[in-house]
């Protein structure tokens, strides 16, 4: 061939419209990058909750992959389970349940996410709601007990135990209530305990929002759903995704920022002791980092423009805040994202980029 240039005339040449080169980022590379970004948080959940967490995660992921393969086969579509998108959905479903959640529930959750929320809407790119979050809402409505119990009991957690017993002298029952649930649940429960155990709001605040506790929140040595506990490792994953240009800063920054600012303003207004500590605690717990970095940024169910993403994040933040302060749930991240998912077509319709030359 190289001997004779003219021979090239006979070669089959591909012809297509320009451009002829493309970015290396393909859908599979984006999806698997997200999986890698989730690895530290997953590893940490196994470290703090035990092998049970690994079992739940594997169940979630495998169920989602099986569900996707079955659905694509039945719908006579190309089977694309290798693209990693079902794996992410399954992992996120598992990350949204308590560590002791029954495996059958996790499996059904993954099936619901992939079959009902994703494939029946047309598959990747066409779903309106984040599949994992819709599955969480579905599980919370169907099995409220399994979804709100089964928290991990930390054996001899020195920070909490020391704090409680030394500074407050809380009865054991109150201690259990405060330490077994998630921090935000404990905060809501705590208000109830005030009268029951005759402790002051200052004492409760000192206990829940000490610098030590905040550090615990950030590191993740606390109760919660499998994937939500370590804000630090979720942030690490988020930064990795930002670096790999898989997500942009708009949604995480506006979402977390809105929750922080509103919480700070609110607790300042009602004169709560150390409002900045409450705000920090609100940011670092309740799955906000998991939601803001890994679920609200879901490409399919968030706006396409930068402006739209900012509005989306702010909306998520406001709804999360409202649910946490006045709602029936201690957390609010998942419902806020689901509600904003529904508004995405509207946001995209009204927030278009400025046309050059107009």
């Amino acid at each position: 061939m190289s001997e004779n240039g003219n021979k090239g005339s006979n070669a089959l040449l591909a012809v297509s419209s320009p451009p002829h080169i493309r970015v290396i980022n393909s859908i599979p590379s984006i999806m698997w990058t997200v999986v890698i970004a989730l690895l530290p948080a997953m590893a940490f959940s196994v470290y703090s909750f035990g092998l049970r967490a690994a079992l739940v995660l594997v169940t979630g992921a495998v169920s989602a992959v099986i569900a996707e393969a079955i659905m694509q086969f039945l719908l006579k579509k190309p089977v694309t389970v290798k693209d990693g998108s079902a794996v992410i959905t399954g992992i996120l479903v598992a990350m949204n349940v308590p560590p002791q959640a029954p495996l059958w529930m996790v499996s059904i959750g993954s099936f619901f996410a992939v079959i009902i929320v994703k494939q029946l809407f047309g598959g990747l790119g066409f779903n309106i709601f984040n599949p994992a979050l819709a599955a969480r809402a579905f599980m919370l409505a169907s099995w409220p007990v399994q979804m709100t119990t089964g928290w991990h009991t930390f054996q001899g957690v020195s920070v909490l135990a020391g704090n409680v017993q030394n500074t407050m002298g809380l009865p054991e029952k109150a201690f259990d209530a405060l330490t077994q649930a998630t921090p935000l649940a404990a905060f809501k429960e705590g208000a109830k305990l005030l009268g029951e155990y005759n402790i002051t709001i200052q004492q409760l605040s000192d206990f829940l929002f000490s610098p030590q506790m905040l550090k615990t929140h950030f590191m993740g040595n606390m109760g919660g759903c499998i994937g939500e506990t370590s804000a630090m490792l979720l942030l690490l994953g988020g930064i990795f995704m930002l670096y790999r240009k898989v997500i942009t800063w708009h949604v995480p920054v506006s979402f977390i920022g809105t929750v922080g600012i509103l919480t700070l303003a609110y607790y300042n207004l009602i004169g709560y002791p150390s409002p900045h500590m409450v705000a920090l605690s609100n940011i670092l717990s309740g799955g906000l980092f998991l939601g803001a970095f890994f679920m609200a940024t879901d490409m399919v169910t968030s706006p396409v423009t930068g402006k739209g993403m900012l509005l989306f994040g702010i909306g998520c933040g406001i709804i999360t805040f409202v649910i946490r302060i006045w709602g029936g749930y201690p957390e609010g991240v998942s419902y806020s994202i689901l509600l904003m998912n529904a508004l995405v077509p509207l946001i995209d319709r009204f927030l278009k980029p400025k046309l050059f030359g107009t």
Binding site: A11, A14, R22, V23, I27, G122, T248, M309, G357
Partner: protein, 439 residues
């Protein structure tokens, strides 16, 4: 100094290192030249020679047929052996085929004593028009038309496009390195033709050597005109007319408007170089500089080539191919056209020929849009390529038309950045074509 840049844009791998800094050499004169009559935007030229005629190098063989049209000249001396429809990069069209024979009289090279001061704007225009100069950046718009804006528009600035933002291409870079003095002269001539004093040369800052070469000449020559050279952020499509104007002046060419609407005329580096040769030496545009590159060609480089040389002859002269290329591209990989035959000749608008291997090109199927918004972030015009693509894919041209497809400059940044490999700019092109048909 680096200016703030335009909205959007992408950073594709530059791949300019393959031919960067490689001095120009002449490709061999083709034995047979294929000279198409339409190498420009506008009306095709009309052949004015017959089969059997003997022509000189640079002789007029195709005459412009209207204001927006351009003359075509013989690239080699020889005999017209056929005038027939042949394949070109644009479409199948009447082509004058010349078999080279006889002497190269090179009449144009003898008159280099002409001074810019002695030539009137009128004369410059006539010489550019008769030399068949067209935009050499790729679009091939007749230069004489650009230089005669309607009397009601007031032009104040000439922008010279040395951005060369297309990956692989280094021909403009090399022109600025090799002929900085000639380019400044070309700018002075163009300014005179326009009757203005101000010119800005915009060059991406990955070609800082070219910037320095031009600036050095400016310091030495100290032209009376206000000519400056600006280094720009390296970002594709920095060389797109509207983006270049915005970066250099902060002015936005109105939607569906032209640069002259903001008082600006844009000319490519290669074009001002050709303008100088046409005006000072009466040299018609029958040869040009190109970059030959890509992983599949044995001797990539920057070359001077006669218009009408077929790709197959260039391949032979460049040491042949290393294997079967996946694609042969005329122009750059972002805006250039892929061709299926090596019989296609170089035309005036050919800035490069790329022989790309399988791992250099995009390939494979596309999948549904995942709404990642990367195309929206990349679009320098503020369009929604994702929505346009989906609308066209579903044959909903009514929806597509509401999304301003006519504002698309076909830079391809959207398709480039799409993780689903969707041919977004192709979809938008279809929407544009549909609008044209309706008119």
């Amino acid at each position: 100094m680096i200016f703030s840049s335009f909205r959007g844009g992408i950073h594709p791998p530059e791949n300019k290192h393959i031919t960067e800094g490689m001095a120009f050499s002449n490709l061999v004169i083709p034995k047979t030249c294929y000279i198409p009559m339409q190498q420009h935007i506008g009306a095709p030229a009309r052949p004015i020679v017959k089969v059997g005629d003997i022509v000189e190098e640079g002789q007029l063989i195709g005459e412009a047929t209207g204001f927006v049209s351009a003359n075509v000249h013989a690239s080699v001396p020889g005999k017209v052996v056929d005038i027939t429809e042949t394949l070109t990069v644009y479409q199948k069209q009447p082509t004058v085929i010349i078999e080279a024979e006889g002497a190269f009289t090179s009449s144009h090279a003898l008159r280099d004593d002409r001074k810019i001061e002695d030539i009137t704007a009128e004369e410059i225009f006539v010489k550019i028009r008769s030399a068949g100069i067209v935009g050499l950046g790729g679009a091939a718009f007749p230069t004489s038309v650009k230089l005669s804006p309607p009397s009601e528009t007031a032009i104040d600035t000439l922008i010279v496009n040395g951005a060369e933002c297309e990956p692989y291409l280094t021909v403009d870079d090399m022109l600025m390195h090799t002929f900085p003095r000639q380019i400044i002269e070309g700018i002075q001539i163009t300014l005179k033709a326009l009757g203005i004093k101000k010119a800005i040369v915009g060059v991406e800052n990955n070609k800082i050597g070219a910037v320095k070469a031009l600036q050095k000449v400016l310091q030495e020559v100290k032209p009376r005109e206000d000519i400056s050279v600006k280094a720009l952020r390296t970002k594709y499509p920095q060389g797109a007319e509207k983006q270049l104007i915005y970066t250099l002046t902060g002015k936005e060419v109105p939607s569906r408007g032209l640069p002259m609407d903001v008082g600006i005329v844009v000319q490519n580096i290669g074009t001002v170089f050709a303008i100088r040769e046409a005006v000072l030496f009466d040299k018609p545009l029958f040869e040009r500089y190109i970059t030959v590159s890509g992983k599949m060609i044995n001797k990539p480089g920057n070359y001077k080539v006669r218009i009408g040389t077929r790709i197959s002859e260039i391949v032979e002269d460049c040491g042949g191919l290393k294997g079967d290329p996946a694609k042969i591209i005329i122009g750059g990989p972002m805006c250039g056209l892929s061709v299926h035959s090596m019989d296609i000749p170089v035309v005036k608008g050919t800035s490069g020929i790329l022989f790309l291997s399988r791992d250099e090109v995009n390939a494979g199927d596309f999948s549904p849009c995942i709404r990642c918004g990367k195309c929206v972030a990349a679009c320098p015009m503020g369009l929604l390529p994702c929505d346009l693509g989906t609308a066209v894919e579903n044959n909903r041209f009514d929806l597509a038309n509401n999304l301003n497809p006519s504002d698309c400059i076909m830079c391809g940044s959207c398709s480039y950045s799409c993780p689903a490999n969707r041919p977004l700019s192709h979809f938008i092109k279809l929407a544009q074509e549909r609008i044209k048909q309706k008119k």
